[in-house]
């Protein structure tokens, strides 16, 4: 879909002033809710995401229980007021697909065998949306799970890259997502570099894909540092050094 705005100018500057490899500003807070076992509030650009983790707790209905390990129910939901045109409350097909790919990503890093017959419920609420909500959601979920004391082999993190005006860039903003040529969100287990979430739509040559992929992974590692610092800052008492 062509637009008459230049998404990226001749100096490589994007609409919001960012360079090709610059992420939007990110702010993360852990343990923000009272009832949830673990929680995280995350702002990424204009995205505002709230995640609550409950569990491990008995999986209901009984027939959904796995006698060998826990099941992960990630539920991605957008608030009615989080988008330009009000969204009717309730899961639509897009939300259900995102819920599924996020559940699967989390199942790779959570040590599920410790909780047979249990469920780990991860509720991801998008309160304000501006492109990249699934990446923000998976990233916030990682922090909320750690905050809940859920055992994991890694803290999952996610970031997207894409192509705008022929250039490969990281972390698409709103206009870039709407009018760009490709979108590639990926989820990573940062310790090992394994890819736990991968989707793509648009048009990329194999070379462009490789560039975008590397950019997204690099973005993931930057975000991972912010996740870790957030968790440690919350629980490491200020009177002590590391």
């Amino acid at each position: 879909m062509k637009s008459d705005i230049d998404l990226i100018d001749s100096n490589g500057k994007r609409l919001d002033g960012r360079g090709a490899e610059d992420l939007r500003p990110i702010k993360i807070e852990a343990g923000v809710l009272h009832r949830a076992d673990g929680s995280c509030y995350l702002e990424w650009g204009n995205n505002k995401i709230l995640v609550a983790v409950y569990g491990p707790r008995e999986a209901i209905p009984r027939h959904s229980q796995n006698p060998l390990r826990a099941i992960v129910n990630a539920r991605y939901n957008m608030a009615a007021f989080s988008v330009d045109d009000r969204k009717r409350p309730g899961p639509d097909r897009r939300s259900r697909e995102i819920s599924k790919v996020i559940s699967e990503a989390l199942e790779k890093v959570i040590i599920l065998e410790q909780f047979p017959r249990a469920a780990i419920d991860v509720n991801i609420e998008v309160l304000d949306a501006e492109a990249g909500t699934r990446c923000a959601g998976l990233t916030a979920a990682g922090v909320a799970l750690a905050d809940a004391g859920i055992p994991m082999i890694d803290i999952p993190v996610s970031c997207a890259a894409g192509k705008i005006g022929g250039h490969v860039v990281v972390d698409l903003g709103k206009e870039e997502d709407n009018f760009g040529d490709a979108d590639l969100p990926i989820g990573v287990s940062p310790r090992t570099g394994e890819i736990i979430l991968l989707q793509m739509d648009g048009h990329l040559t194999v070379d462009e894909f490789n560039t975008a992929f590397d950019m997204a992974v690099k973005g993931c590692h930057k975000v991972s540092e912010i996740q870790k610092k957030t968790i440690l800052d919350k629980y490491q008492p200020s009177s002590e050094g590391k």
């Binding site: 809710l33 009832r35 608030a79 009615a80 007021f81 009000r86 409350p89 509720n123 609420e125 304000d128």
Partner: protein, 260 residues
């Protein structure tokens, strides 16, 4: 559903007989209330209200649409509430059940029937086009008294909302026309004791609940009794008085937070 131990119920009842509440408050005392507006960029108006640990986010979205046939020159207002599983281990995903529906309708009536939202000022073309105001209540953390938190969040969001005329090429954006809104105050009864602003522990053992919305003159604009217990006339009078008194203070706090 989480089981409430009988011991805890008995303890709260025993404290009540001594004139005490489990968190040390007086019978007519509210928890700390925090109001923040302009939270959600995408919404035409939004507000976050915290009462104790209960947290509600209200968002206002607007659209252009057809008026109801029996009021061709009035805007349309609709309220929805989501008790999302995020807010409590006992909330399930799925379509709204009666508690969510009751909550939405009570908040809706509080705004609508009092005429606080001036719907006659939301007409674009009589009989053809009017503004539609969507109020969406998103419960984020449940620790008792959703009615008051949701109602206050809706009012704070409406009070700071802007009609997005520019986006629809209908002129310049302007503030949503709102008159002085009624403030809703909720009390519950257990063990023959009536207390205002129940926390979760108190709500879990309550027999009956009464919400009273009052305006700046101390007049009553809306009421709702809930749960399957009962109130005496005397208790109702006490609840009204406590609602008028607290309503006044909450309104002052609301005006302060929206910069009035």
């Amino acid at each position: 559903m989480t089981v409430v131990p009988m011991i805890k119920r008995d303890y709260i009842n025993k404290l009540a007989e001594q004139g005490k509440r489990i968190d040390g408050r007086g019978f007519d005392e509210y928890r700390k209330i925090q109001i923040e507006t302009g939270i959600v960029q995408k919404a035409e108006g939004s507000a976050r209200v915290k009462i104790g640990n209960t947290l509600v986010l209200a968002g206002i979205k607007m659209d252009v649409g057809e008026p109801y046939s029996d009021s061709p020159e009035s805007g349309v207002m609709t309220t929805a509430a989501e008790l999302i599983p995020l807010a409590s281990p006992d909330f399930e995903a799925g379509p709204p059940r009666e508690d969510a529906i009751e909550l939405a309708r009570v908040v809706d009536r509080g705004v609508r029937e009092s005429g606080a939202l001036e719907v006659d000022k939301l007409c674009i073309e009589p009989g053809e086009k009017v503004w539609i105001v969507f109020i969406d209540l998103h419960i984020l953390d449940y620790d008792g008294n959703l009615f008051d938190a949701a109602s206050l969040a809706a009012l704070a969001a409406l009070s700071t909302a802007k009609v997005p005329a520019e986006r629809f090429e209908l002129g310049e954006d302007y503030p949503l026309p709102l008159k002085e809104p009624p403030i809703s105050c909720t009390s519950v009864k257990f063990n023959n004791v009536v207390i205002i602003d129940p926390c979760l522990d108190e709500e879990e053992i309550a027999d009956a609940r009464l919400t009273v919305a009052t305006d700046t003159n101390g007049d009553i604009r809306a009421m709702q009794k809930g749960l399957n217990g009962s109130f005496t006339k005397d208790e109702i009078q006490k609840v009204i008085k406590a609602s008028v008194d607290n309503g006044r203070e909450i309104r002052t706090q609301l005006y302060k937070s929206i910069g009035k």
